[in-house]
């Protein structure tokens, strides 16, 4: 029942080894390709894979397009709302606040990463570092939490499965049918044959990603220059390269198992077991076990700690001292006589106190999440699926680190807003019992929130994802070479 049971028959020729090798490679490639074209099972697997891939890509492209337009419309409406809120006290404007929305890069359509499970917008208001809200997952339909259809699922989980279907009989079929002696006798280098067959397998796997590539090109074309990435080109290149290495690792593993196994059934059993462990068990076990690396507090404990620490806006005694200093500095007796607005100064103090409290609490939380990221990445040395998952979501800016990057940028914007509004308030005391009111000029003086994900940290990416991925490929190639050596000189059984 294997999809590939060809026997390549090449006659040993008195040519230089490179030429023999090249000819063997080309001959094996053509023979394999020809045979696969005729095999209905290959057509079935490819048709199913392409249909799924096309659905995944279409859905991803539509989702991204919809989310981007909704966020762009909402961001522009917020910007207009902020500018046209009318005359009011700057502190009222600070409480009115603005919502900011997380931008989505095009690559996030290919690998949505954590996007479905994190909030999409955050309200920037006075005194509070709000959490991001409205997770798309909260509007999800039902019980299925595993294997949400996306191009990343296709490439990380289903493409290797399709490769196993198409390639497990690569050499095992010849051994099982007693054609191994003939393969040895024909003089063609086994390495060339294995490379050719592996390359055909890789081409078939990549054909499954065609719909995703087309969809991404269309989304990119529609998006124009809206990409929120500083280094979109580099990320796209690394993204494609990463998946090439990942699928090549699987091609090498399949070659190794097929050359090593005594029968096709054994080859299939080895590969299905490896696939189950590497793509299903380890990625989930890694994220579960990472909890132990840096335990997270419960939301209740986290919020209680912040509320307790916020307590009073600032130390009342300190506030009194500061007030006394100001009165002395301006030579006046009461706050009302001050040429500055004491309310604004108090708000500045209050915000500084709040910022300090939030930093003290969110800092360790983000550090714990980052520690869990590092712990998860370690599993990339055991499973190429973990490594490519980390690489792909990092490059697509749909990972936890990118999310935190956005959260921190939004918080910086909130603080900037508060600083500008409170400074303006501090500079304008109330006159004759009438509260100071600012207008559109002040609202417009606050720079709009424009967020771009920072350029990729090459060293970190290399250590966490690229090296484990490359090590996986080297290991798989090593296994394939050892298995081919055994195929060449071991027992024909």
């Amino acid at each position: 029942m294997q999809a590939n049971s060809n026997a390549t028959t090449l006659t040993a020729l008195p040519y230089p080894p490179e030429r023999v090798w090249r000819q063997a490679f080309v001959g094996a490639w053509l023979a394999d390709w020809r045979e696969r074209r005729r095999d209905w099972r290959v057509a079935l697997v490819l048709a199913l894979g392409l249909a799924l891939g096309a659905s995944a890509a279409l859905l991803a492209a539509l989702d991204l397009d919809r989310a981007r337009s909704a966020r762009a419309a909402a961001a522009s409406a917020e910007s207009a709302r902020w500018a046209h809120q009318g005359s009011k006290n700057p502190h009222s404007a600070a409480h009115y606040g603005v919502y900011v929305f997380k931008p989505l890069p095009t690559l996030a359509a290919l690998d949505p990463g954590v996007e479905h499970f994190v909030g999409t917008s955050v309200w920037l208001e006075a005194h509070k570092q709000n959490d991001m809200v409205y997770r798309p997952a909260a509007d999800g339909a039902g019980a299925d939490r595993q294997f949400r259809l996306s191009p990343a699922l296709m490439l990380q989980v289903l493409a290797p499965a399709a490769m196993i279907f198409l390639g497990f009989g690569m050499f095992a079929a010849e051994r099982e049918r007693g054609m191994l002696p003939a393969l040895r006798l024909n003089g063609a280098p086994l390495g060339a044959i294995a490379l050719a067959r592996g390359a055909v397998l890789l081409c078939l796997a990549f054909s499954l990603s065609l719909p995703a590539i087309i969809a991404i090109a269309l989304v990119k074309w529609r998006a124009g220059a809206l990409e929120p990435l500083a280094d979109a080109g580099l990320r796209t290149l690394l993204f494609a390269g990463g998946y090439l290495v990942y699928l090549a690792t699987w091609a090498a593993l399949i070659t190794a198992a097929s050359a090593f196994a005594s029968s096709m059934r054994a080859a299939l059993a080895i590969l299905v077991t490896a696939w189950t462990i590497l793509t299903l068990v380890l990625p989930r076990a890694a994220v579960e076990l990472a909890q132990s690396a840096a335990p997270l507090p419960s939301m209740q404990a986290f919020r209680q700690a912040i509320d307790d620490a916020l307590g009073m806006p600032d130390d009342p005694a300190e506030a009194e001292r500061h007030k006394g200093q100001l009165l002395q500095q301006y030579g006046v007796k009461t706050v009302a006589e001050l040429p500055v607005n004491w309310a604004g100064i108090s708000q500045l103090r209050s915000e500084a106190h709040g910022n300090d409290v939030y930093d003290r609490h969110y800092g360790p939380l983000f550090a714990a999440l980052a520690a869990q990221d590092r712990a998860i990445a370690l599993a990339g040395w055991l499973s190429p699926t973990v490594a490519i998952g980390g690489l792909s979501s990092r490059l697509a800016a749909s990972d936890n680190a990118s999310h935190i990057e956005f959260v921190q940028a939004a918080e910086r914007q909130r603080r900037l807003m508060q600083e500008l509004l409170n400074s303006d308030l501090a500079a304008h005391p109330d006159r004759n019992g009438v509260k100071y009111e600012a207008g559109e000029a002040l609202w417009r003086s606050i720079p709009p929130f424009r967020f771009n994900y920072a350029a990729i940290d090459g060293a970190q990416l290399a250590v966490r994802s690229l090296l484990p991925l490359a090590a996986g490929l080297v290991f798989a190639l090593g296994l394939a070479l050892a298995a081919l050596r055994r195929l060449r000189s071991g027992s024909v059984k």
């Binding site: 029942m1 659905s55 909402a74 959490d131 019980a143 279907f165 939301m299 209740q300």
Partner: protein, 500 residues
């Protein structure tokens, strides 16, 4: 009957003699135990958070009582000189909007550790604020998002996704090995029909393995404290075991059909893996995709914008809407203050109600869209045994979407009662303050010490009741019947071909 028993006994003995079978079962049990461990860890964390919330609520109330006793005994004490009304529980405005600590907790069912289900997305403990449901609607537990995105590794994951692979592997050699070794003809000559071989051997292998799994997991759950060793715990284990048996029956029938159709073990293994991929990944993903396309939920960004528009509208119509409010509640109408001049802390709850009223249409639109998606998903899930199993395990553990929705509905009712209670308290306090103003918070005005009378959330008995075995789980038996019939049909065809 004796012949069947002999067949089963011979088959099981030879199967257990294989080292591979034992290794496979050992690996399966280890993976199942690990899933149970993760489920238990999650559940303990959730329970600890729930307990901490209850402690916080109680101690906040006790601290408020203690502060009220000191303050109302001597309001002029120096320690209260810097008291801010909006930051203290002894002022009803400060208590209602900031200092009141009230949580609503979804009671955990005895089998909660057996399936995390939706519990990591929809938290079981939410803080309820008098002003609005916003804190409930956007509540989330702190989790690494990658854990949510990759899908949890728990017992449910093991049983739904990995256990079928174990069953298919265990059963792939039934009949196919006899065909390969040409032993089938001699068996048939002894009068043992191929249908009996397939059904009996597959059934026995799967049943034995499933009983082993249930025993090992059940024993570990009881011993490790994941399930209480009482009636409720055993009933939860019984429900879980029932679903495992139904689900195993489905995959056993699939294995029987494969063994009936395939000429050798390799083909059976190949086709088995293919069917597993189809049922475990492709069909559920397709259902999810269909639900997303056919029943889209409007983007939440639109919800945010509608809320902002509504808030602007409420602010713009403040005076008129407050006038209407006091017309409908003349008992709270201030004697000297015009509606537009009422302080923001007194009109704040009315403002929240107005916002809710204006947002009603949008809320309904989102709720209907979500409901449409859920019901479409539920209808479609009939064609996916894996989705049915997921839903059944989550429902039996009380970690499903429907129970969470019921919980939120109860919280919403409680929040309405809480808001109404505070509305009354604040309006009466405002009237009292208007009649006898005092410079600082005082009783008869905004002073507050009725902490024990503030409504508290109590889950309905329905939420705490153990669920029955979900009715839809029985659909798995129907699926098993379809594949068993397929197996019999394939064998009948084969017989006819051989005779022909």
């Amino acid at each position: 009957m004796m012949r069947t028993l002999a067949l089963v006994s011979f088959d099981l003995r030879s199967l257990l003699r294989e080292r591979g079978t034992l290794l496979l079962l050992a690996a399966a049990l280890l993976l199942a135990w690990y899933g149970l461990f993760e489920g238990t860890r999650f559940q303990r964390h959730a329970q600890a958070a729930q307990h901490a919330a209850a402690v916080q609520e109680t101690s906040a109330r006790a601290a408020a009582h203690e502060l009220a006793a000191r303050y109302f005994a001597n309001p002029d004490a120096p320690e209260f000189a810097a008291l801010l009304y909006y930051r203290t529980p002894i002022d009803v405005r400060g208590y209602a909007f900031r200092e009141h600590v009230g949580f609503a907790a979804l009671p955990a069912l005895p089998g909660a550790a057996l399936a995390i289900g939706q519990a990591d997305i929809a938290p079981g403990t939410v803080r309820v604020r008098a002003e609005s449901m916003e804190s409930v609607r956007t509540a989330a537990e702190i989790e690494h998002p990658a854990r949510l995105a990759s899908g949890r590794y728990d017992l449910m994951f093991f049983v739904v996704y990995l256990w079928p692979l174990v069953l298919l592997t265990l059963c792939a050699s039934v009949l196919t090995q006899d065909r390969e070794s040409l032993r089938l003809r001699s068996l048939l000559l002894q009068g043992v029909g191929s249908a009996r071989i397939v059904l009996v051997q597959v059934g026995a292998r799967a049943l034995l393995a499933t009983i082993l799994l249930i025993g090992a997991v059940g024993g570990a759950a009881l011993a490790g404290g994941a399930l209480a060793a009482d009636g409720a715990g055993l009933a939860a284990l019984g429900r879980w075991a029932g679903i495992v048996l139904l689900y195993s029956a489905f995959w056993s029938a699939v294995a029987a059909a494969l063994c009936a159709c395939c000429a050798n073990r390799m083909s059976a293994a190949f086709a088995g893996f293919g069917l597993w991929l189809l049922f475990a990944i492709v069909v559920p993903a397709a259902i999810d995709a269909a639900a997303r396309v056919k029943a889209p939920v409007p983007p939440r960004e639109r919800y945010v914008q509608s809320m902002r528009d509504a808030l602007d509208q409420v602010n713009a119509n403040r005076s008129a809407s407050l006038a209407r409010f006091y017309d409908s509640h003349p008992e709270w109408k201030p004697a000297r203050t015009a509606p537009g001049e009422v302080s923001s802390s007194v009109s704040r709850l009315h403002r929240a109600q107005e916002l809710e009223r204006i947002m009603g249409g949008v809320e309904r639109e989102f709720a209907l869209a979500e409901q449409a998606r859920s019901s479409l998903f539920e209808r479609l899930s009939t064609v996916s045994p894996v989705t049915l199993a997921n839903a059944a395990f989550a429902a039996a553990a009380g970690t499903d979407h429907a129970r969470q929705r019921q919980f939120i509905a109860e919280v919403a009712r409680h929040q309405t009662a809480l808001r109404d209670w505070f509305q009354q308290a604040i309006q009466r306090a405002a009237l009292g303050d208007e009649q006898a103003q005092c410079a600082r918070t005082c009783l008869g005005g905004y002073g507050f010490r009725d902490f024990d009378r503030v409504p508290r959330f109590v889950a309905s008995p329905a939420l705490a009741a153990a669920p029955a075995l979900p009715a839809r789980a029985w659909t798995l038996l129907l699926w098993a019947g379809v594949f068993a019939a397929l197996a019999l049909a394939a064998l009948a065809l084969e017989r006819r071909r051989q005779r022909g």
